[in-house]
């Protein structure tokens, strides 16, 4: 258990600048998810923290001790930071017990630590299985148990659930989360899956082109994204053009209360962000509602995402929950109302908006 602090870390591979000044602090005993699209530098960051790569500039401190800086690299085996790679990477020639015992010294192997970490990941009694006799989810759990066994100060997880199928993923994710929590480990998880990042982490750090563009608690990042790019990567978005008048925005959906990141009322015209769950679907013709046509339906079981078009052509997304109270056949008309406040952004200036997910 220790605080991990990454300061202004740069790393290039030839002409490719993978990290361009990453700052990240992971408080002791918490889990931070580093969220970013592929190619954003997630895995490079993880490998720098683990000690598999050296840093070109900046430094990494663990519990106050400097473990990485240009020319001063503590080798991975002396950092004691455990890693859970993609696909688990269990040692195929060792049984589950041998895998977990790998990082333990001879004495602690017989103190019951192996059994307790196995119980922690829900695999009590699997000590003597060989890795190839385990399912993907079980392999991943063993990899987590192996990482936790020596009480490492920090654990790094590199997209550990991406190879699992959807149903299993949620289950393994929560089990791993509770195992990490009950062991009090400081953990960093990198992922490109926003649902995973938001559901598992205490803090989410969004990585874009080798820089952390925002970090904070998941609900804060989701509801108050720092940039339109962050807004798009952490969830579905509804963007509306807006004229600002005294704390309210005039949008194609009518007047909407707005908030801004700095708290001051917006003045210049720009655009506002709504989340699909803020759009309420009511029967067509309801007073004070905007009329829209259903263009597409994504039925997802527990909810349905509707793609709609307003009468002036503006596209809007709305999430409705089962059982649906309003008929929403494709081509049919419905009424829309806005719940809560929108988030205002100034008119996009150049590159920030281009790289949508």
């Amino acid at each position: 258990m220790a605080e991990l602090r990454v300061t202004a870390v740069h790393k290039s591979f030839g002409s490719v600048r993978a990290l361009r000044g990453v700052d990240l602090t992971v408080r002791s005993g918490t889990l931070t998810a580093v969220l970013g699209p592929s190619g954003s530098g997630k895995t490079t960051l993880l490998r720098c923290i683990a000690g598999f790569e050296t840093v070109d500039a900046g430094e990494i401190r663990l519990d106050g001790h400097r473990i990485a800086a240009p020319g001063r690299t503590v080798p991975p085996e002396r950092r004691r930071i455990a890693v859970v790679p993609q696909e688990g990477a269990l040692f195929p020639h060792l049984p589950v017990r041998g895998n977990i015992a790998y990082g333990l010294d001879r004495r602690t192997r017989w103190t019951g630590r192996i059994e307790s970490v196995l119980a922690l990941v829900g695999l009590a009694g699997f000590e003597h299985r060989m890795p190839h006799h385990l399912s993907g989810g079980q392999q991943q759990r063993v990899a987590v148990a192996r990482a936790l066994a020596p009480h490492p100060p920090a654990v790094l997880l590199d997209e550990p659930f991406s190879a699992l199928d959807a149903a299993l993923r949620a289950e393994v994710r929560q089990d791993v989360r509770s195992a990490l929590r009950s062991d009090g480990a400081t953990a960093v998880l990198v992922t490109h899956d926003q649902a995973e990042a938001l559901s598992i982490a205490d803090e989410v750090a969004v990585l874009h082109d080798g820089r952390i563009v925002q970090s904070g608690p998941p609900d804060l990042v989701y509801h108050s994204p720092a940039t339109p790019w962050v807004a798009d990567i952490v969830g579905e978005t509804v963007w509306l053009p807006a004229e600002m008048t005294g704390g309210r925005a005039r949008t194609p959906l009518g007047p909407v209360p707005v908030v801004t990141s700095d708290g001051r009322p917006p003045s210049a015209p720009g655009r506002v962000l709504l989340r699909p769950e803020q759009i309420e679907v009511v029967p067509a013709g309801t007073p004070a509602a905007n009329t829209a046509t259903v263009v597409r339906r994504d039925f997802q079981g527990h909810d349905t995402l509707l793609a709609l078009r307003l009468t002036d052509g503006t596209p809007v997304l709305a999430r409705i929950f089962a059982p649906a109270s309003v008929p929403h056949a494709i081509g049919g008309e419905v009424g829309l109302r806005v719940r809560g406040a929108a988030r205002a952004f100034p008119t996009p200036s150049g590159a920030t908006d281009v790289s949508r997910r």
Binding site: G51, P76, E77, F91, Y102, G103, R146, P150, A163
Partner: protein
């Protein structure tokens, strides 16, 4: 302090694994002792004397004939080896396992034993094409084994994708399947070319006038070391050309074994009416490669073992063969481990250079290695002279590349992620090497050791020169009896040699997956 750290960092960038690299350099140095001796002796002779030997029509003819023999045998082995591997692993050929074993077994027949079998069966069987035929029949397993292994483990999904994209079966074979196994074909063909260039037994028995035979002749007739050494230098130059040519055509392929995913056995093609043509072709090849030596040995065998005292001599020679081969294989693997691991884990100019250097002495004829080490033993390491260890050193110099290739391929089977995880769990590099890399590579390393052991047992000229006085092996006994046309006396030694060599050969062919199709573990 700071400057020391800077120096260390620079060294690390140039040589990523210093300990491993040092051990690898040591191994290569040992392997290069014979080559160094060659250079020293050639230098001593002086330029005038050398050019007098070098620029003659005869030297040119010998070099051209050596190259032509190597080229002909390599082409024939590639065709034969790839076709057999394809039939055995990818078609519905009947009795595939049997044919797989039959295609691997010629490895157990030393070239001089095969040549002896042919010459004592077919009257007037000698010359260039005779040597080409015999060498092809004994060395096509060098192509067959790696290609069969690669075909058995290649990802069938790639072929399926090619088919689904509208590519026909033959186009898929040419553009996808053969591309997948191209590194294996290249490695096998290189081994064959080097084997033929340095072969001495078969070309002598069959009187094919190539460089190795000329070197032997100039040593045995009047002992002309300078002439022999100049010819040996030409041989080394040809080797360098072949090795660097192969390096140029090699492309960087996907290096590591897949993680995850389920290995599926490949789809087998239906041969239809071609089936019986294929079977006849394989039976024909097997009859030539194994049937002729077997029949010939059987004919002489009865007469040979009925002679008094022959069984004791046979047992002693067999014991000696096993001892010297075990010592040779042990030393070779010890030297090969760091080299193979360096190539697999820290690829770069240093690793490539060391790997290529190790190939050099492999192509030197065993004769030159033997002579060089006699000199080395007398002048530098006298305690080793007339001991099994000097012979083991000769074997190591000769067969290091076989072992290095096996270790390298085995180490590539271990994904680097496993080593990184192990280090992140607080283990030092050496501990990780001992507990993860080596155990995972062990089956491949054992296969390399078996191959080296087998090759040591078949080795003739260096054994002749370096064995301790009075210590006869199966190979030397066979040779001394063949050279006086005592075929009956020679046959039991040849038969036992082939039988003993067949055991590791069987095991090696079992490893290619030819014998156990369908038992393919998915990656963990």
């Amino acid at each position: 302090m700071a400057s020391a750290a800077v120096v260390r960092r620079r060294v690390r960038r140039l040589v990523p694994r210093p300990v491993l690299a040092t051990a690898a350099v040591a191994g290569v140095c040992v392997a290069l002792i014979p080559l160094a001796y060659l250079a020293v002796r050639v230098g001593d002779a002086g330029w005038a004397r050398i050019s007098e030997e070098l620029f003659t029509v005869r030297t040119g003819e010998l070099a051209a004939r050596s190259l032509a023999l190597a080229g002909a045998v390599t082409v024939a082995c590639t065709v034969l080896g790839v076709a057999t591997a394809f039939l055995v692993t990818r078609t519905d050929l009947p009795a595939r396992r049997l044919f797989g074993v039959l295609a691997a077994l010629p490895l157990a027949v030393p070239s001089y034993a095969a040549a002896f079998a042919w010459v004592s069966t077919v009257a007037g069987f000698e010359g260039f094409w005779a040597a080409a035929l015999v060498l092809t029949l004994v060395s096509y397993p060098y192509v067959f084994l790696p290609v069969a292994a690669a075909l058995a483990s290649a990802d069938p999904a790639q072929e399926e994708v090619a088919r689904s994209l509208g590519s026909g079966p033959w186009r898929t074979l040419l553009t996808v399947t053969l591309r997948q196994v191209r590194p294996a074909v290249g490695a096998g063909a290189l081994l064959v070319a080097l084997y033929v260039l340095s072969d001495f037994g078969a070309v002598s028995v069959l009187r094919a006038d190539v460089l190795t035979r000329a070197i032997f002749t100039s040593i045995s007739l009047g002992f002309d070391p300078t002439g022999a050494l100049v010819l040996a230098t030409v041989l080394v130059v040809l080797t360098v050309l072949i090795v660097s040519g192969e390096q140029l055509t090699r492309r960087q392929a996907a290096r590591y074994a897949r993680l995850g995913g389920v290995g599926r056995p490949p789809v087998r093609r239906r041969l239809g009416r071609l089936r019986w043509i294929a079977v006849s072709a394989l039976i024909g090849t097997g009859a030539l490669a194994l049937g002729v030596p077997a029949a010939s040995l059987a004919r002489w065998f009865g007469e040979g073992v009925s002679r008094p005292g022959s069984l004791t001599g046979l047992a002693t020679a067999a014991g000696n063969s096993l001892t010297v081969s075990a010592a040779g294989a042990g030393l070779t693997m010890l030297l090969a481990l760091p080299l193979g691991l360096l190539g697999a884990r820290a690829p770069g100019p240093v690793a490539v250079a060391l790997d290529r250097l190790a190939y050099l002495s492999h192509a030197l004829p065993g004769l030159v290695i033997g002579l060089s080490l006699v000199f080395f033993g007398i002048n530098v390491a006298y305690p080793l002279y007339q001991s099994v260890w000097l012979l083991a050193l000769a074997y190591a110099a000769l067969f290091l590349p076989l072992a290095v290739a096996a270790v390298g391929a085995a180490a590539l089977q271990t994904p680097p992620a496993l080593e990184e995880v192990a280090r992140s769990l607080g283990r030092r590099r050496t501990y990780v090497l001992r507990t993860v890399t080596v155990p995972l590579a062990a089956p491949g390393i054992a296969a390399g050791a078996a191959l080296v052991f087998l090759t040591c047992m078949k080795e003739l000229p260096a054994t002749l020169l370096l064995r301790p006085t009075g210590m006869d092996t199966l190979a030397t006994e066979l040779w001394s009896r063949t050279s006086v046309s005592a075929y009956a006396a020679a046959a039991p030694y040849a038969a036992l040699l082939v039988l003993l060599a067949a055991v590791p050969t069987w095991w090696l062919s079992a490893r290619t997956g030819v014998l156990s199709q369908g038992v393919q573990g998915g990656g963990a």
